[in-house]
């Protein structure tokens, strides 16, 4: 077309970004890549092809790492780790700063290479991914510099195995590598097999930045290589990817003591209330579900519209879909590029074709290449599979709601809990709804905002752990001086009916029961076991709780969900009252403890328990969130929300203090608990429920079971309506708990058979475990 013609048509025309420099870099590397191990690229071994999904052209050949490669990478990382950590925060800060600068200097090369390999529009890799990557390295250079101040008493975990997905290859690399390196860890990272090139360019950059050999190792290949890393001698696995694979990794690492963070899938709600700026909300949808072809874990993929405006919103949305441009991702005037691989195109197409809903698609879509049009499916109910399953493509599903409460109910009607958007011009409504959403990140009148200072991560089956902010650093550090790892004491008395009977202690038979929903309950199975004192005397009987008792306790605890909404001040008052009432019966509790344990420390333990209650009563209105300095006009609130329902196996070492130490932080932060008493000395717990009864603890907030840890632990781990399981048990249940928790990916905190010094409150660790960070982005401006 000539100027005169275009003057009439006013078309955009092509605006291609040149791929020349990126292709030249590939050729300079020989178009065949080995792994990057100990500061060097290895000779390419068995290779596979990596292709440009927009054209199908082969870009390069990538090595499928062998187990020898993985072992060498882990060994290199292990060898380099003490030196890297020993370099100190400021020393590491300089290296990270150099990395940030180099990423900035080579930003266009990285962006073009990413688009070639992944198929995402060049605008996104250039204007979104790369700036966020640089920001992540700058931010974490700062965190390295300040580590001593920001995280006193913590040090590196060691060697971190990191597995990143293909949707944001370089950005997810930066989210993993920057915090790990900042805290003094070394890494073995595997990019996704479809998108390895920018990780390999990053490896090249590491050499220029002066990253010491072995600190960053990149091994390439498919899921088999990932499995090798998971099975290797690493101290932590950080994974971003599908929920299915995350579950496998949870099971594979169970019982190994490896730290684990998982950033998994989502089906994030996008809620439009009838007073929203509808045009802006629709523009937000473009960035929510058609960003990166919808291949975004936190994509706003479930559109919930207030019924009265639904027709208007859908009409405007369809019009907007018609103006989206699909095609060559290197063209600067393209909104939707190529899906990453034909496999994904096929999978998503199949999902759309199977729906009962009404399908509307934008277009046109170019011939050849992995292109899919923007798609809207309406007329679906929550029960439809497309409303439940993650599609991971440019497909938006939609339904309506009537009231704010119904919007919240629909939004939370999902196994996932990654992100959510809320659109309303009413600040009361926005700030009421946001914290009620089961999502790790909530955007008010916005979508897909990210920053290194704002924690990102999910609830429920969207995984656990946070990336970004100080919260993200917790996942790459451990205490400098961990509590002395003494083995937990074995059971003093073999539990069960076969125990040697002794003389009864006390004049009247004592029948301790279970404590469920604020009431005493007989065990469902009808079995009890005797509890003997240290001298062998029979002190009484406790019920043996079974899975049905656990079920009842969970139901009672779920019914007490109002506790999470109680004010922190009120929760503190209740805890102080518990302390007051325990103190009033101190002598009695001390005597029982001494009788059960045969020691003389009962009085001190009761005193410590009272003090522990005071400590967490005090924390309850002080362990709060923070407003993060994100680069918008507005703020990101890193809120502390309760985990929900926590099941905990209490320790034998300190039958009363241990139970109180577990209960107090949990309920202080608004959780409800199902506590399984010390197996050896359960009477401290059953006496304690009398204290709870007199202390205004609402029924169901604290539930106490007695019974065999080995029997109850797996049931707790498998219970899908329990959000977390903690184990301080003497029994060997840690591995089982971690493995079986994979069902709903509940949070676990287990002792792997190690004991604990219950004389220390260790408040930071307990409060962290008792809360989830929810990041609420609140832009403002009129």
């Amino acid at each position: 077309m000539n100027v005169k013609d275009i003057f009439e048509t006013m078309d955009y025309g092509p605006a291609p970004e040149s791929a020349a420099d990126a292709l030249a870099w590939i050729v300079d590397q020989g178009s065949r890549f080995g792994c990057f191990i100990d500061g060097e690229f290895t000779t390419p071994g068995a290779v596979f092809e990596t292709r440009n999904p927009a054209t199908g052209e082969v870009l390069a050949e990538i090595t499928q790492a062998s187990d020898t490669d993985v072992a060498a990478a882990v060994a290199a990382a292990r060898a380099a780790q003490p030196g890297w950590e020993g370099l100190g925060g400021p020393g590491r800060a300089r290296v990270l700063y150099a990395l940030a600068r180099l990423m900035q200097k080579h930003a266009r090369l990285f962006a073009v290479l990413e688009t070639l390999d992944n198929g995402k529009p060049i605008r996104e890799s250039r204007d979104i991914d790369l700036p966020l990557v640089q920001r992540h390295f700058y931010y974490h250079a700062g965190q390295a510099q300040l580590m001593g101040d920001v995280l006193p008493g913590r040090r590196a975990l060691g060697v971190c195995g990191q597995i990143v997905p293909w949707n944001f290859p370089l950005l997810m690399l930066s989210w993993k590598v920057a915090p790990a390196l900042a805290m003094g860890n070394t890494v073995v990272l595997k990019p996704a097999e479809w998108t390895s090139l920018t990780a390999l360019l990053f490896a090249d950059i590491c050499r220029q930045a002066g990253v010491p050999k072995g600190v960053v190792n990149i091994v390439t290949g498919d899921g088999a290589v990932g499995e090798m890393i998971v099975g290797a001698e690493v101290d932590k696995i950080a994974f971003t990817g599908s929920t299915a694979v995350g579950r496998q990794i949870r099971e594979a690492t169970a019982g190994t003591g490896k730290a684990l963070t998982l950033e998994l899938g989502g089906k994030s709600p996008y809620i439009i209330f009838d007073d929203a700026d509808i045009d802006s909300a629709i523009e937000g949808l473009v960035d929510a579900i058609w960003f990166n072809q919808g291949q975004v874990c936190c994509a706003g993929s479930r559109l919930l519209i207030q019924e009265g405006i639904a027709e208007d919103v859908l009409g405007r949305l369809k019009h907007r879909m018609g103006t989206l441009r699909i095609g060559n991702p290197l063209d600067k005037v393209i909104d939707i590029g190529a899906m990453v691989d034909p496999v994904q195109v096929g999978r998503v197409t199949e999902m759309i074709e199977g729906t009962a809903g009404e399908v509307f698609q934008g277009g046109p879509v170019p011939e050849g290449g992995c292109f899919l049009p923007p798609t809207l499916v309406t007329g679906l109910e929550p029960a439809d599979p497309l409303m439940q399953e993650e599609i991971f493509g440019p497909v938006l599903v939609s339904t309506t709601f009537r009231t704010p409460a119904e919007a919240v109910a629909l939004a939370n009607n999902t196994r996932y809990g990654l992100a959510a958007s809320v659109w309303t011009e009413n600040v009361n409504l926005a700030l009421d709804v946001a914290p009620k959403l089961a999502a790790g990140v909530v955007w008010v009148n916005a979508t897909n905002l990210f920053d290194a200072a704002a924690p990102f991560g999910g609830l429920r089956e969207s995984g656990f752990g946070r990336e970004g902010g100080p919260e993200g650093l917790m996942a790459y550090t451990r205490p400098v001086d961990p509590a002395p790892e003494k083995a937990a004491p074995g059971l003093g008395v073999e539990p069960g009916l076969g125990a040697e009977p002794g003389d009864p202690v006390g004049p009247i038979d004592r029948t301790a029961k279970l404590y469920v929903g604020g009431k005493q309950a007989r065990p469902d199975g009808g079995y009890s076991r005797p509890v003997h004192g240290a001298d062998g005397g029979l002190m009484g009987h406790v019920g043996l709780a079974n899975r049905k008792d656990l079920r009842n306790a969970v139901e009672a605890a779920q019914a007490a969900s109002g506790w999470a909404g109680a004010s922190a001040h009120l929760r503190a008052q209740v805890l102080y009252f518990v302390a007051e009432n325990l103190s009033a019966r101190a002598a009695e509790f001390a005597g029982r403890l001494d009788a059960m344990t045969g020691g003389t420390g009962g009085a001190a333990e009761v005193d410590a328990a009272v003090d522990r209650l005071f400590t967490f009563a005090a924390w309850s209105d002080k362990y709060d969130g923070a407003a993060r300095a994100v680069p918008i006009r507005g703020t990101a609130l890193a809120m502390r929300r309760p985990v929900g329902l926590i099941g905990a196996l209490c320790p034998d070492e300190a039958p009363l203090l241990g139970l109180v130490s577990v209960m107090a932080p949990a309920i202080a932060m608004g959780n409800r608990v199902v506590l399984v008493a010390s197996e050896r000395a359960p009477l401290a717990a059953t006496d304690f429920y009398q204290v709870l009864d007199t202390s205004d603890v609402p029924g169901g907030v604290v539930n106490i079971l007695t019974g065999r840890h080995e029997e109850l632990a797996p049931e707790m781990a498998r219970h899908l309506n329990m959000d977390a399981v903690w184990s301080f048990s003497s029994a060997a249940v840690s591995g089982d708990i971690e493995r079986l928790s994979a069902g709903n990916l509940k949070r676990t905190w287990v002792n792997h058979g190690a004991g604990r010094d219950w004389g220390l409150a260790d408040a930071g660790t307990f409060l962290e475990a008792a809360t989830e960070t929810q990041t609420i982005w609140v832009p403002w401006g009129e």
Partner: protein, 333 residues
């Protein structure tokens, strides 16, 4: 000198277009609609900020778009020292905004700007200088720029300007009606201005820099369209803040909503501060994205600008020759 075929100056671009776009007759004031108008500033700013990264035109497309932009310029002089001579010079530039050799190199027929925009007393020399060109004269009116002279005089100013030959009247609204939420008063005022214009098209200048919020911009846009504005225009060029992309986005969305509800297309004129060819391209892509290609023609789109043309001329010469240009190589406006 070649003289173009004479046109009656009443032949506005609006009616010479093939589509014969019907004028917006206005509608009854719908206060429910006005009060429900929303504008989320942060979201609007994000959209506006990312637009230039989402859309761009290169090479011959850029040249064609720039030429189209020239046809949308209201070439303007609104200064206290304007004289008939100064206005004649401006009108000569309006007739031939681009050097003939450059147009010829691009295979283009002659083009003109959209209109020449002046104060009332300069209408006569402008009309005379533009005789036969088909280029309409636009006059700023109603006590421009503040709009605080006696109402009767503001209406009479329109009548006199139309009588003097102005085919387009750029009126200023009473900002105080917006700032006090007196939508009825704004509507009534605009209705009377529109009636006074008669056959002349009326552009309603909102003076968005003085309206305080984007929400007010959205509401004022709707009220002026309901009262029959042919165009809504951002600014007089005299406010502290003139045309911006966020303000434009709000006004364009109001135009889109009005069209969706009434079927009438209202034009848009950003004014003040648009001085670079690159800026003009961004505004054009904003129009194309939000309203569609129909709104890229000068019957529905004008730039209120004085120095924009010079920059576009330099860019065009660069397109033709491959060498960066200089201002003195192009005729003064």
């Amino acid at each position: 000198m070649t003289v173009q075929a004479p046109h009656a100056t009443a032949q506005l671009p609006q009616v010479t277009e093939a589509s014969h776009e019907p004028r917006n007759p206005g509608m009854a004031l719908d206060l429910d609609w006005v009060r429900s108008a929303q504008a989320n500033t942060s979201a609007i700013e994000r959209r506006a900020a990312s637009l230039s990264g989402r859309r761009s035109v290169k090479k011959e497309f850029q040249a064609a778009w720039a030429l189209r932009a020239i046809t949308c310029i209201d070439l303007t002089t609104l200064a206290g020292d304007d004289t008939p001579g100064r206005v004649r010079r401006l009108c000569a530039k309006a007739r031939q905004p681009v050097r003939a050799d450059l147009l010829s190199a691009m295979g283009m027929d002659p083009i003109t700007v959209g209109a020449v925009c002046v104060y009332h007393d300069m209408i006569a020399p402008a009309v005379e200088a533009l005789e036969g060109s088909g280029i309409p004269v636009a006059a700023v009116s109603t006590g421009f720029p503040a709009g605080l002279s006696p109402f009767r005089l503001r209406v009479e100013e329109i009548t006199e300007s139309v009588a003097a030959g102005a085919a387009e009247i750029d009126i200023v609204i009473s900002r105080r009606h917006v700032l006090t939420g007196n939508w009825q008063a704004l509507y009534d005022e605009m209705r009377i201005f529109r009636e006074a214009c008669g056959p002349a098209h009326v552009k309603a200048i909102l003076a968005t820099g003085e309206l305080g919020t984007l929400r007010n911009v959205a509401k004022a846009s709707l009220v002026c369209m309901m009262a029959g504005a042919d165009f809504i225009k951002t600014s007089t060029g005299k406010e502290g803040v003139n045309a911006t992309l966020p303000v434009s986005l709000v006004m364009l969305r109001a135009i889109r909503a009005y069209h969706a509800r009434t079927g009438y297309r209202v034009g848009y004129k950003p004014a003040g501060g648009i001085s670079k060819a690159k800026d003009a391209l961004v505004y054009q892509s904003l129009m194309k994205e939000e309203l569609g290609d129909r709104w890229l023609r000068n019957d529905l789109f004008r730039f209120g600008a004085s120095s924009l043309l010079g920059d576009i001329e330099r860019q065009l010469e660069h397109h033709v020759t491959g060498a960066y240009s200089a201002g003195w190589r192009h005729a003064l406006a």
